[in-house]
């Protein structure tokens, strides 16, 4: 599997291509690309059978180790690839350590070990254990084990520790990777640690240089501890870090971020040169009963940025979530029906919202790539930014209503 950058495109934003997959030579995926976030290999609320109704295009499943730890015995006996084990051999796979849709607990550090918080408690992974799991999974790509436990408020000591551990874990993992026959063709993404300290980021990149030839992509790790708060991170804060990392990596390496970034920040990250994302934001939206419906096309009218289907005003609204949307949910089901399903706590409510959100996120990334090709990504950014502002105004208004400070 390899990553190639479109030679005609500038450094930021840029177009690229992932191709030459081990047993799927016909697949070719364009970047900027969004991985399908899963838990235990399942997109939340959407089975692989339903995924086929959303898209027939090749996709990469993002499978967090934390959600797969329970299979550490079974996968050894299984002897197949993880894509098949989780029920979708047509998909490509990327193993990550943590689940970007859940907050990762902080602390619990130990030398050369990374704590993973499974539903049955804490498990400490060292490089040997981790790489043994990766060899059993046989994914198409994976992220090396790292200490990504930093965020904007991390003290320097923690940042220094995170860089030190990450560099050491990376070296250990790569040593094992080099010797591994089954991982010969597997795409390696190495984490860059260093929190919001530019010096530490630079140091981390420098220390990883000697293994650069074994690494096909880099993850800008340690920007946050995952979970829904990532949506509200201000881009101004992450920009210096992203710019530094992107400028210091060889241009032929894939650059990834993880987490529930808002669509507006995704555009900004794309403009800074980030190639790879995930759909964990769709889960966050769906869990709060929200569907994204912001307009993407210049002539498209915008009703809202997102709508919350729990609101009583949708009880007798028989329109689809988004008029003109071609997803299965919008083709056959109304806001009123979804509102009913949510009210009576039926599973299908979240299924329908998630179908739309995933479909819409895939469409959003297609739109981003088109805009890069046509050189009008700024227009898309403006369009989304205007609608996002309206959402914030609405939210503020709601807050004021809750606080009783709005004059009627």
């Amino acid at each position: 599997m390899k990553f190639t950058v479109n030679p005609a495109s500038q450094r930021c934003p840029r177009l690229g291509r992932l191709e030459a997959f081990i047993d799927k030579p016909e697949y070719s995926l364009e970047t900027p690309l969004v991985l399908l976030h899963t838990q235990g290999g399942q997109i939340p609320h959407v089975t692989h059978e339903v995924l086929k109704l959303i898209t027939e295009d090749p996709q990469i499943l993002q499978i967090p180790l934390v959600s797969m730890h329970c299979y550490h015995e079974a996968i050894r006996l299984y002897n197949g690839r993880v894509s098949e084990f989780v029920g979708n051999k047509d998909c490509l796979t990327c193993i990550t350590v943590h689940d970007p849709s859940n907050i990762t607990k902080q602390g619990h550090h130990m030398k050369d070990k990374v704590p993973i918080f499974t539903r049955n408690g804490k498990v400490l992974y060292d490089s040997k254990m981790y790489m043994s799991m990766i060899e059993q999974f046989k994914p198409d790509m994976y992220i090396l084990l790292s200490d990504g436990d930093t965020n904007i408020s991390s003290p320097n000591k923690r940042i220094a520790k995170a860089v030190e551990s990450t560099v050491s874990l990376t070296e250990q993992c790569i040593e094992i990777h080099k010797e591994s026959e089954v991982l010969k063709e597997t795409f390696v993404i190495a984490p860059v640690a260093g929190g919001y300290c530019l010096k530490s980021r630079q140091k981390c990149i420098d220390l990883m240089q000697k293994n650069n030839s074994y690494i096909q992509g880099y993850l800008i790790d340690g920007l946050h501890n995952n979970g829904s708060e990532v949506e509200f991170i201000s881009f101004a804060e992450v920009k210096p870090v992203v710019d530094l990392v992107v400028q210091n990596l060889s241009p032929n390496k894939l650059v990834a971020v993880q987490g529930c970034w808002s669509p507006l920040n995704i555009i900004k990250l794309v403009k800074s040169g980030v190639d790879l994302y995930d759909t964990s934001y769709c889960r966050i939206l769906t869990e709060r009963s929200a569907a994204i419906i912001f307009a993407m096309e210049p002539q498209e009218h915008s009703e809202a940025y997102e709508i919350n289907l729990r609101q009583p005003k949708y009880a007798e609204d028989f329109q689809p979530l988004l008029r003109g949307c071609n997803c299965v949910a919008c083709q056959g089901y109304s806001r009123g029906y979804i509102h009913h399903l949510l009210t009576v706590q039926e599973l299908l409510g979240s299924v329908l919202i998630m179908i739309h959100n995933i479909y819409y996120m895939l469409r959003f990334f297609r739109k981003i790539r088109d805009c890069i090709k046509n050189g009008n990504l700024d227009d898309l950014e403006d369009k989304v930014a205007t609608q996002f502002k309206l959402l914030q105004l609405d939210t503020d208004k709601d807050m004021q209503v809750v606080n009783g400070s709005v004059d009627t």
Binding site: V50, L53, Y78, G336, T343, V344, L348, S350
Partner: protein
């Protein structure tokens, strides 16, 4: 025989020459239904996370929804504005709704039955007293728009021995049937089925049937069973009812859906069944097999690389091992969807197998083999042995 304006045409396609089992084709306003049929229950206008698109591709021809729940939420106004439940839930195959009476008596402790209807305390915030009358039940069911709707009946628990009360319920059920038929607004597109009552008293069942068959309805339901009575009592009543009911109309046995019950009751001549069990049990990690059920939560399946059932062709069995499902059942909602798909597919396959064996003239052998697989030690429960004996099947 086939009047184009009739919302139900029932044609017998084949009959078992030994037992009372039969295969039929029932044409309803939203398409054909092959009988004997099992109808999964989509209480609130949805079936456990499954998309109607999936259910259709599995070959599901009819499902059930509950009037009491739908009348409460989303409520009759929303359903009317939505243009009925078929449209609201995007299901253009057939629907059947119950009357709401059973739910009230079983769910609500405070239900009180009078000649007018069932009086109960509403579950809404006001907790006011509400009366469900036969007229109101039909009004809601007319709005929901199911292809088969049920009369409101006077439900008495089968375990209550008070014969006078049961006799009253038989007569009242017939009086309520007349009130239901009188106010039914859509006789061209919706079929009212009467419900035979009389619990375990044969004379009362005879009376109930004798009254109902005079009403010119398109099919019949056997009610008041599957409520905790002994299986030895249960089968005898089913046997009696299928003997007495006209054989040119479909017979629906309410609340029955366990595999062995379905096999026995098909042999006794029943055409339609419903039960929440196959879909409800999926949530707890239970998967159905011809030989019984397994709970995938159990540690024995943690390293089991077999599908739930190697003979099943559902998506879940084609793609997943028991070991994989073991790791996600009761943890991820999708696991519930995957098991529901298998369990619905299981029920559909069982009914298809029954129909095929009746048509091929191999139904007796099928029943014998089916039961011997469940009871390999031949320790058959008396009710299975006796009921099958009554329709001339001797177990191996």
């Amino acid at each position: 025989m086939s009047d184009p304006k009739k919302p139900l045409i029932f044609e017998l396609v084949g009959k078992c020459t030994t037992t009372k089992a039969r295969v039929g084709k029932m044409i309803l306003p939203h398409g054909p239904v092959d009988t004997p049929v099992f109808m999964p229950v989509g209480t609130q206008g949805t079936l456990k996370g499954m998309l109607p698109e999936q259910l259709k591709s599995m070959g599901l021809q009819i499902m059930l929804a509950n009037t009491y729940h739908l009348g409460t939420r989303p409520g009759i106004d929303v359903l009317r504005k939505a243009g009925g439940l078929h449209k609201f839930m995007n299901w253009d195959n057939n629907l059947l709704t119950d009357s709401g009476g059973f739910q009230m008596v079983s769910l609500l402790k405070l239900a009180e039955i009078t000649e007018e209807g069932v009086k109960f305390q509403s579950l809404n915030e006001q907790k006011n007293e509400v009366m469900l009358t036969p007229e109101h039940s039909i009004e809601i069911q007319n709005t929901i728009g199911a292809d088969i709707i049920m009369q409101l009946d006077d439900v008495v628990k089968t375990t209550i021995p008070d014969k006078a009360r049961i006799e009253e319920s038989v007569h009242r059920t017939t009086r309520w049937l007349d009130r239901c038929i009188k106010v039914h607004k859509n006789p061209q597109t919706q079929n009212i089925f009467p419900i035979v009552q009389g619990t375990l008293y044969e004379d009362l069942r005879r009376k109930s049937i004798a009254d109902h068959v005079q009403r010119g309805v398109n099919g019949f339901a056997i009610g008041g069973l599957s409520g905790g009575e002994s299986k030895d009592d249960f089968w005898k009543i089913v046997h009696l009812c299928t003997d007495l009911l006209p054989n040119n109309k479909p017979i629906y046995l309410m609340g029955v859906g366990f595999a062995e019950d379905l096999v026995v009751c098909c042999a006794l001549g029943v055409d339609m069944f419903d039960c929440v069990f196959p879909t409800r049990t999926a949530r707890f990690g239970c998967a159905l097999l011809m030989t019984g059920q397994i709970n995938l939560k159990k540690n024995t399946y943690a390293n089991d690389m077999n599908p739930i059932d190697k003979d099943c062709s559902c998506n879940t069995c084609k793609k997943y091992t028991r070991a994989y499902l073991h790791g996600i059942v009761t943890d991820l909602p999708v696991a519930c969807h995957l098991l529901t798909e298998h369990n619905v597919a299981f029920q559909l396959r069982l009914m298809r197998t029954i129909r095929e064996n009746i048509l091929n003239g191999t139904f007796v052998e099928f029943v014998q083999n089916f039961m011997s697989k469940i009871y390999p030690d031949k320790n058959y429960p008396s009710w299975i042995r006796d009921s099958l004996d009554a329709v001339h099947i001797t177990l191996l």
